[in-house]
């Protein structure tokens, strides 16, 4: 089948304003959107800038907005967007991050917020001499959802709070905070509270659930944020 890709184009170094370029591409309905972008890039227009790597939804490079919704181009099949949404596919960069070029966005601010929450294990005790910390299956289950995060930025783009409050820490960083707060081996809650317990920290989230809707890893992000809020209140004796 033939489809039209309508792709956002903008090079801040040379373009006064952004535009959309349209490409007609022959595809198989079971191809991924990424396959069609690769076809354009390799055979028609090498100037098209986008990120990709693993091509099966685990590295997080190719998060972008496809027909207005945040998705991974490698996890989105052509047939799934054309059947329900027509033969033209609109492709745009993630929101809330400056466009570097075309579909590439500058992730430095996003990553600096991730780093702010101390996203690493802060154990209280020295590790066992020769062996593992003991952690029950139930304790392990408590962090399972959060450990799926690949930091692709889809949730950050979809979050309506960031539309009006660009200083909000954002859902991805909060997922990583919860990843460690609920790890039975971690004792770093107090250190992380300093960052989370702020007006632009965790309390700025007001439960729109957009992050949860778009997460390509199926993480229940809003739920994790709410559990973390409860944990902070508990620690503060509220």
């Amino acid at each position: 089948m033939q489809i039209e890709l309508k792709i956002f184009r903008y090079n801040p170094q040379t373009d006064k304003e952004s535009r959309f370029d349209t490409y007609k591409v022959d595809v198989d309905p079971s191809d991924r959107v990424l396959d069609s972008l690769m076809h354009v890039y390799r055979n028609e227009d090498g100037s098209l800038a986008f990120r990709k790597s693993c091509a099966h939804g685990v590295c997080g490079s190719d998060a972008m907005r496809i027909n207005g919704k945040e998705r991974l181009a490698c996890k989105t099949l052509i047939k799934d967007v054309t059947q329900s949404e027509g033969d033209t596919i609109l492709i745009e960069p993630l929101r809330h991050l400056p466009v570097q070029k075309d579909l590439m966005v500058d992730q430095s601010e996003f990553l600096s917020r991730f780093k702010k929450v101390s996203p690493f294990l802060i154990p209280e005790e020295k590790p066992p001499e020769n062996g593992e910390y003991i952690q029950s299956q139930l304790q392990r289950d408590a962090i399972d959802d959060a450990t799926k995060c690949i930091n692709c930025g889809a949730c950050y783009s979809a979050c309506p709070v960031l539309d009006t409050n660009p200083d909000f820490l954002g859902p991805a960083a909060l997922v990583h905070a919860s990843r460690f707060i609920f790890d039975s081996r971690d004792q770093g809650l107090d250190a992380r509270i300093a960052i989370l317990d702020q007006p632009n920290g965790i309390w700025a989230c007001d439960n729109h659930f957009e992050c949860t809707k778009v997460c390509p890893r199926g993480i229940k992000i809003t739920k994790l944020i709410n559990l973390t809020k409860r944990e902070i209140k508990k620690r503060k004796g509220e």
Binding site: H56, K101, P127, E132, Y133, I134, R185
Partner: protein, 575 residues
């Protein structure tokens, strides 16, 4: 001079990050990566990391070492296999202690499951050796190591693509690097350089590998005169998703998944009566291709793109969702198949480079004759050799954490008194000119050469190989390398010109494809993943040796190195 460090690590997967953590204890260290660190392909590893913890049943590092040697069809260096198995236990505990969320036993210890070729007591039967975190073990290793690097303030240069290494005699003095964001060429000065650039499966049409797996490290060193080792041994994993090559972990068979042909027969009983579906990967890939060629593939076409079924539906939904949730997601997304209810269509997929940059057990580049002081390699781009002719499942993660860590520790000592070599400013100018030429020429797009290389490798240097077909592959690749001289970059932009990088990556892949095809043609025997119908038997008399290939003037030449067989005498390999 643009940048000045003691230690440069190229690549931010598991091996590079572990090495960086260790090396940065004494040396000023930076990691250069062409993707963002969390995007590295280690994150795609699924099923597990082997270590003889003995948490669910008796196990010993010695058994792990033996399985590794036998699994590699005796081309494994046995001293390295022993170190691999012993250090695996320490490395797994270290990762857990640093936060890695392994799946747990009812007692709260690290849980372990079965994987292909892992046995108790030297082959008696399967053993549970693979430590795992659901089916995203690699993701957890990558995340944990990156988190630790953040904690330790390791310096990262993201989207910095390494073009070349500068050597002063046999010692590295720095790197020449393309910065994607600006298009600038930088010189990075250093006393120690470690390459951890991963695999190069993108030379094949059907592959589990990321787009970024283009073998930059081995290609760069090979162009600088360092031979590559055992390049003929490329692992074709038996279970990739039909037509796409996305991996379906061996953990599926470890949990009880079974392969079926079009007649509904569980065919592995005819090929590996003891280990059945948990035989090593080379044997299962051959079994699947034999079924297909004899007309028992699902489509019955007898062609290379036919497939078989991998069935896990009898495990039940609860186990599928708990043990292989990502696999279930892939199958639903890409195949519209729910593995809790229906079998998965699978075909062999190019997966892992067992050859690469030759190193010793400390990660130093080592040709067998000489060590290159200060030059290191670890992970999939390196060849220690612990995989020999066929890598056992889980041993890739073991390799990269064990030897990434060991190399980092060795660097931390070495760098204290390491000399700084002379840097060669002309090399940076040469690369600037090279890229300017790429942009000014009016040549073709790289698409056709990519396709042609990938099809040639898949059809002629795949699971089954014959001399005449490989000869055709070698001459096709030589011609493609000449055609490649006329490829140009069509976008002139300085900033984020990914096309420059793509074209240079293609050059790296073409070099490595020629190394692989010529090495396969040269080795006149069948061993592990290298199976020839014109030389169907293993020939220890002539070929119990590593091959070292050198590419010059579009021709490959060979030297050889002995295999360390001090512990276990080579025997016929049956399961």
């Amino acid at each position: 001079m643009d940048y000045d460090y003691d230690v440069l690590i190229v690549g931010a997967g598991g091996a590079g990050l572990y090495a960086a953590l260790e090396a940065s204890r004494t040396g000023k260290t930076a990691v250069l990566t062409k993707v963002y660190p969390q995007r590295s392909h280690t994150g795609a590893a699924q099923g597990g990391i082997g270590a003889a913890l003995g948490n669910v049943e008796e196990d010993k590092p010695e058994w792990h070492a033996f399985d590794t040697v036998k699994g590699g069809d005796y081309l494994v260096d046995q001293n390295a296999a022993v170190i691999l198995a012993e250090d695996a236990v320490r490395a797994v505990y270290d990762l857990e202690n640093r936060g890695l969320p392994f799946s747990r036993t009812p007692e709260g210890k690290i849980d372990q499951r079965r994987f292909g070729g892992h046995t108790r007591n030297f082959g008696e039967g399967p053993v549970r050796r693979a430590c795992y975190a659901a089916d995203r073990t690699g993701h957890m290793i990558l995340q944990t190591l990156y988190q630790q690097c953040i904690k330790s303030d390791v310096a990262f240069y993201d989207e910095f693509f390494v073009l070349d290494v500068m050597l002063d005699g046999d010692t590295p003095s720095g790197l020449i690097v393309f910065e994607l964001a600006t298009g600038q060429i930088h010189m990075f000065k250093a006393k120690v350089i470690l390459f951890a650039t991963g695999g190069f499966g993108r030379m094949f049409k059907i592959t589990s590998n990321a787009y970024s797996n283009t073998g930059d490290g081995p290609a760069i060193l090979a162009r600088n005169g360092i031979p590559l080792m055992d390049m003929e041994f490329f692992q074709i994993h038996p279970t990739g998703i039909r037509d796409m090559g996305i991996l379906i972990t061996e953990g599926v068979r470890g949990e009880g998944g079974i392969l079926y042909n079009s007649e509904g027969e569980a065919f592995m009983k005819r090929y590996a009566p003891t280990m059945l579906d948990l035989a090593p990967r080379d044997m299962i890939s051959r079994a699947i291709m034999t079924e297909i060629f004899e007309g028992r593939g699902i489509r019955g076409t007898r062609k290379i793109d036919d497939y078989v079924y991998l069935d896990a539906s009898h495990l039940g939904r609860a186990k599928v969702e708990e043990k292989i949730p990502d696999i279930a997601d892939f199958c639903r997304t890409y195949l519209d198949v729910d593995p809790a209810e229906a079998p998965m269509p699978v075909q062999p997929t190019a997966h892992y480079a067992m050859g690469g940059i030759p190193t010793n057990v400390n990660g130093q580049v080592w040709t067998g004759e000489k060590v290159y002081p200060g030059l290191y390699a670890a992970g999939e781009c390196a060849c220690v050799s612990v995989h020999g002719a066929n890598r056992l499942g889980t041993n890739s993660l073991v390799d990269l954490v064990v030897f990434g860590r060991r190399a980092g520790q060795h660097i931390a000592e070495y760098v204290r008194n390491a000399p700084q070599g002379r840097v060669d400013k002309d090399r940076a100018r040469w690369w600037k000119d090279r890229i300017a030429r790429l942009k000014s020429a009016k040549g073709s797009h790289p698409g056709e050469i990519f396709d042609s290389m990938q099809e040639t490798m898949m059809e002629k240097v795949g699971v089954y190989r014959t001399g005449s077909e490989m000869e055709k592959a070698v001459s096709s690749l030589q011609k493609l390398r000449l055609d490649y001289e006329h490829v140009s970059v069509h976008a002139g932009a300085e900033n984020f010109n990914a096309e420059v990088q793509t074209v240079l990556e293609l050059g790296n892949l073409l070099d490595l494809a020629l190394h692989t095809a010529a090495s396969a043609l040269n080795r006149q025997e069948s061993r592990g993943a290298h199976t020839r119908d014109d030389f169907p038997d293993r020939n220890d008399g002539d070929w119990l040796k590593h091959s070292l290939s050198t590419l010059k003037d579009n021709q490959i030449s060979f030297q050889y190195r002995d295999v360390d067989v001090h512990k276990w005498e080579p025997k016929p390999r049956v399961y």
